[in-house]
Amino acid sequence: MKRKMILYALLTLAAFVMFFPIMYAFSVSFMTSEDILSRRLLPSSPTLDNYRDVLVSVPILHYLMNSFIVASTATLGMLIVSALAAFIFAFIPFKGRQAVFLLFISTLLIPWEATMIPNFFTIQSLGWMNNYLALTIPFFALAFGTFLLRQHFKTVPQELYEAAQVEGLSNFQFFYKVVVPYAKTSFVTLGIFGFLTTWNMYLWPLLVTTNDTVRTVQIGLRRLQADEVATNWGLVMAGVILVIIPTLILLAAGQKQLQKGLAKGAIK
């Protein structure tokens, strides 16, 4: 009993510390500027003015839409490209497969930032500046995603593969009729992971967007902060809340899945 009390006390304290910045931002987003100046914790009379103002003064819905398009496209591409490669590493033996696998592993050693200068030139010469292509295509191939899916694909019983061949299923039919449904959970894991990481990208969109056409919400937030900071923190926080709500919901919904899936993919 006493042990339980201590545990709950520790848990609650830790939760308060961890969650404070988010709750505080939430609270500030409903404050008037007087409340903010007097450094209150909670708004004295909650107002939606900040939300109205941020929607009017900045194209934040447009940024959100861009981010949504970028994150879903990149995630979908990531799932397809990784799944195709993972299928080969799990089912189709050929001479030299080990070497190709090593090539995939070697990409894990290249920090993305070490390649950003030539990548920027590549995007320029392809004419992909201010284009969704620049924000999605480079992220389709992912060694981590390939390993995660391969790990799960390998648990498909060999008998199923043999049965499928007896049935005369082509490799591609086997792939999408048997393997994909069988490994559904790892697709969900990788999907959530992919969406979170691409939604939250910062440096790359900063480099390849120079106007608002495809600019994502993270860069929008940076501009909002730079423009508004001196005058209106409430408005900035309203922007922050709008940006984090989609990913926080996704995370809360998929947290169990992520925890199981990522741990598996990471270790074995």
């Binding site: 830790a14 490669a85 990409t107 050693l109 390649t115 200068i117 939604w199 910062y202 984090i244 992520l258």
Partner: protein, 322 residues
């Protein structure tokens, strides 16, 4: 089928080899079919290999190439300069400062990130009513983008309007200049980073804890082992592969921090938070010095590579694999 089998039985006089030669169905596997696996592998691996080549291998090599050249503002290599970009960097006080700041930053963030995440994971691994909610809260920063996190902390660090100084003064402590003081600024950026890292590390470590076999704890409990004994003798050794993974990831993440610097300090004050990625970014995309910037990128690559290899070599021995 039946007919064929009967034929074979009739030909007792033939040697086995003859029989095989005579009745061998001309292999239906043509060269086209035998190479089937190669073709399908090629087809399925092509998207990944193509993208890796264009966006990883080629730019890595091109970075190396650029690091030996002077470039114009468009990034075209104009004059070969050998090691000059590198010698310039090692003589430049700004670059040496950036390396020092990065190392200090790693020291600030990695151990504390891992310890805090481990502490939270141990707490959240207890079987209690309502534990799911706590887990969601602890994992929440995984959903926080670097931009959103940095903007929130920027406000909390604010010298007059910020809640942190309000809290300090309310308990009669002096207010701090979180981001304006050159020593404090790096600590502030580190605090933000640790907070952002925790969600991911927590989730992975919790997953690792839940994979540990319950029976180990039961038998230890029967033997009367206390909580800390079990922690030291069962939990940490069994968790070591996961811990090892998290330490490596946190290390590399620290090296690659950018957004929080960009929003919180812009590298200042007086370059006190000019982490290596921020330095590369400024050199390349603000000053258009692509040669020296590429040399920095190559040094970063070397450092990350060395770290990863060292950790594998060093970590491997200390890690207990199931």
């Amino acid at each position: 089928m039946k007919q064929q089998a009967a034929d074979i039985l009739d030909t007792k006089t033939l040697t086995v080899q003859d029989a095989i030669d005579k009745y061998k169905v001309a292999s239906t596997k043509t060269w086209w079919q035998k190479t089937g696996n190669y073709r399908i592998a090629f087809l399925y691996l092509l998207p990944s290999l193509l993208l890796f080549s264009v966006f990883m291998f080629y730019p890595m090599i091109y970075s190396l190439y650029l690091s030996f050249f002077f470039t114009d503002a468009q990034g075209t290599a104009s004059a070969f300069v050998g090691w000059e970009n590198y010698t310039y960097l090692f003589q430049s006080a700004a670059f040496r400062n950036s390396v020092g700041v990065t190392l200090l930053f790693v020291l600030y963030t990695v151990p504390s990130s891992v310890i805090i995440a481990l502490f939270l994971a141990l707490l959240a691994n207890e079987k209690l009513r309502g534990i799911g909610l706590y887990r969601t809260i602890f994992a929440s920063t995984l959903g926080m983008s670097v931009a959103a996190s940095a903007v929130i902390w920027l406000f909390m660090f604010h010298p007059t309007a910020g809640i942190l100084n309000a809290a300090l003064t309310s308990i009669n402590l002096p207010a701090l200049s979180w981001l304006q003081d050159s020593t404090m600024a790096l600590v502030s950026v580190a605090i933000t980073t640790i907070w952002m890292n925790t969600g991911f590390s927590f989730l992975i470590l919790l997953g690792g804890l839940q994979n540990i076999d319950e029976h180990l704890y039961e038998s230890a409990r029967i033997d009367g082992a206390g909580y800390f004994y079990r922690l030291r003798r069962i939990t940490v050794p069994m968790l070591s592969p996961t811990l090892f993974f998290i330490i490596t990831i946190t290390f590399i993440n620290s090296f690659q921090s950018f957004g929080q610097v960009d929003i919180l300090t812009g590298g200042g004050p007086a370059e006190a938070t000019n982490l290596i990625i921020y330095s590369i970014y400024k050199e390349a995309f603000i000053y258009y010095q692509f040669g020296p910037a590429s040399a920095q990128a190559i040094i970063l690559f070397g450092a990350v590579l060395l770290l990863t290899l060292l950790q594998f070599k060093f970590g491997e021995k200390k890690v207990h694999y199931q």
